[in-house]
């Protein structure tokens, strides 16, 4: 708790909408000054969660605590929370400067103070030249910056952002991302940021909460989420091209597929002999022209895409499985046979029924 930021705590939040649970008993703590990203596919409830934190959506059950105080019992004071919307929600009849100034003016912030704050924000966001333009005269990227600026002008303790980059050109997104990052570095507000773009989430979040079907699947740092996802959904949602998933059978220390031994498990040997799903990220598939070990498996190259920085191979295994591999340099042609190898260290093993990562709670 400080002047700059506040903690957020969601306690057993449930949200019903027309008799369906949109959010189901959700618990989440955001530390003061943390940058938390809510990540998930469309319709997973991430925007609803954000709107409940903002007080725009009522909570069917549970509590939203801001700095320990229940939001329901304390009306929004107009100061604590600022929010940036996906469509920016700029006031179309006001200039850039008036948009930034409006809430301050209504809440009787002194003119000198207003001017000082806004000049510095316009400066920071490179908007000084556009101060007298109407929103309709701005490009998408500029509108996005104005929306950001309007949120900043309030000097709120909590800053909520709802897919703020989804309406601007791909080329500009990287720059806008860096801007948001450096704002957080400077102001240290508590930020909750909603997005469906996993790269954005990885780049920005101190921690990421991956949501699906109204339930938080995993909350952790980007690194842990990538390397050690709790379940198959998280594993598939993060990373492009998607993680390879192969049906395997465990017995006597080996994972086998179609009678072929794929991986020798040394780290863990106390799992039941039964069907599992083996997840291997494309960059962890080791591709070579020759068989290099007893675990090398021959595959046929069906597609090669050179993205410049890396080469993506689509491989066919026995005509039954499609495997994507990412490598830096390999000299092969379509229809060549190449060998792949999978390492235990980079293998993620999921229970076939629960789709949970069986390693996860053992680490």
């Amino acid at each position: 708790m400080s002047d700059n930021n506040a903690t957020i705590e969601l306690k057993e939040i449930t949200k019903d909408f027309k008799n369906t649970k949109v959010i189901d008993q959700l618990n989440l703590k955001v530390a003061a000054g943390e940058f938390l990203v809510l990540l998930g596919p469309s319709g997973c409830g991430k925007s609803t969660t954000l709107r409940m934190i903002a007080g725009l959506e009522s909570v069917s059950n549970g509590e939203v605590l801001i700095d320990g105080d229940d939001l329901k019992k304390k009306a929004n004071d107009g100061h604590t929370i600022a929010m940036v919307f996906q469509d920016y929600a700029l006031y179309p009849n006001m200039t850039v400067y008036q948009n930034l100034e409006y809430a301050l003016k209504v809440h009787k912030v002194a003119k000198d103070e207003r001017q000082k704050r806004l000049e510095s924000i316009l400066e920071t966001l490179n908007l000084s030249d556009y101060r007298d333009r109407l929103p309709s005269e701005l490009s998408g990227g500029q509108k996005q910056r104005v929306a950001l600026g309007r949120g900043m002008a309030k000097k709120s303790k909590i800053f909520l952002l709802d897919e703020p980059l989804s309406n601007i050109d791909v080329q500009l997104r990287e720059k806008a991302r860096d801007e948001i990052q450096s704002l957080h570095d400077r102001n240290k507000q508590t930020i909750v940021y909603v997005t469906h773009d996993q790269l954005e989430a990885m780049a920005l979040g101190d921690r990421i909460a991956v949501m699906n079907d109204g339930i938080i699947q995993m909350v952790d740092t980007p690194e842990n989420i990538y390397k050690n996802p709790t379940n198959l959904f998280v594993a598939k949602f993060i990373g492009t091209p998607q993680i390879n998933v192969l049906p395997v059978w465990y017995q006597d220390g080996y994972l086998t597929m179609d009678e072929t031994k794929l991986v020798k498990l040394d780290r863990i040997n106390s799992i039941d002999p039964k069907d599992y799903l083996l997840g291997v990220r494309p960059e962890h598939i080791k591709v070579s022209k020759n068989s290099e070990s007893e675990f090398s498996v021959p595959t046929k190259v069906t597609k090669i895409v050179d993205y410049g920085r890396y080469i993506q191979l689509t491989l066919d295994l026995n005509g039954q499985h499609v495997i994507k591999a990412v490598t830096k340099d390999i000299d092969c042609k379509i229809d060549d046979t190449v060998f792949i190898r999978i390492d235990e260290r980079t293998s993620i093993i999921f229970d076939k029924d629960s789709q949970k990562n069986i390693y996860w709670d053992r680490v």
Binding site: A82, Q86, D87, P92, K154
Partner: protein, 272 residues
């Protein structure tokens, strides 16, 4: 697609074009004919010997300036009143939750389809009871509930994205300010076009004012015109056409000035 087929599609346009515009041309044409010529060849479109005699006669018979002022004053009052109630009502429908909101709205819109013939007498009796006969307020009062205006304003308000109001809510902006600082400025084009429509319709109105306004000094242009026509068949037809032509000038000017707004807004709402 060849040219023949193209021409076929123009046919309906030409037919309705003639039906729509002929009467107006005919009116203007006859206003420049002598009484005699008008009798002889009333349907000819170009006067043989164009004359302005009807206009000068008209100027002697009635006080045109007074009529125009009365009409203008009444139309302005009705327009402002209707805009005021319409905007407030639309805002209430859009941003407040109250019981039976949908049913009430349904009833409101239903009133558009209740013919004037039917509500005329009840309204007349109420105005008489309120001692408002022969007054402009009496003309204006029953018109304040124009559902068309409410519908158009409501529709425009619905186009304002919900996030704008979410944003205002997060910033804790009071309702009065939202209405005056945000909603009204955004609605400006609608207000202008609906206002112009209200004004023109009110300017042209004659049935209801005829009932309420008995005193000649408070007559409006359509009432004066009614007097020229009602004497069964029109004793002086070119004179009536001259007055019609004068009466049509103000709506025409307003329409031309605000056409951009009007074309957009009417077709959006889909109602007259």
């Amino acid at each position: 697609m060849n040219r023949k087929k193209n021409a076929l599609w123009h046919l309906p346009l030409m037919i309705i074009g003639i039906i729509a515009l002929l009467p107006v041309v005919f009116m203007i044409s006859n206003s420049f004919k002598t009484l005699q010529e008008s009798y002889q060849s009333i349907l000819s479109l170009i006067p043989n010997k164009p004359t302005t005699i009807n206009y000068t006669t008209l100027n002697h018979q009635v006080n045109l300036a007074r009529l125009a002022w009365n009409t203008f004053f009444m139309a302005t009052l009705v327009t402002l009143g209707k805009l005021f109630t319409g905007l407030l009502a639309a805002y209430a429908f859009r941003y407040y939750q109250f019981k039976h909101k949908n049913l009430i709205y349904l009833l409101f819109v239903a009133t558009i389809f209740v013919p004037f013939t039917i509500v005329m007498i009840p309204n007349y009796l109420v105005i008489a009871k309120l001692n408002l006969l022969n007054s402009v307020i009496g003309v204006a009062l029953p018109q304040l509930c124009d559902a068309t205006g409410i519908m158009i304003f409501l529709k425009t308000m619905e186009k304002i994205p919900g996030s704008l109001f979410d944003s205002l809510k997060i910033d804790d902006i009071p309702n009065r300010r939202i209405f005056f600082n945000i909603v009204l400025p955004i609605l400006k084009p609608s207000i202008i076009s609906v206002g112009a429509m209200f004004f023109i319709n009110s300017w042209n109105e004659y049935v209801w004012p005829t009932l309420i306004l008995k005193d000649k000094s408070s007559f409006t242009l359509p009432l004066a015109l009614q007097n020229y026509i009602s004497s069964e068949g029109g004793t002086n037809f070119p004179l009536a056409m001259a007055l019609s032509s004068i009466m049509i000038v103000v709506p025409l000017i307003i329409y031309l000035i605000f056409q951009r707004y009007i074309l957009n807004s009417i077709s959006n709402s889909g109602l007259k």
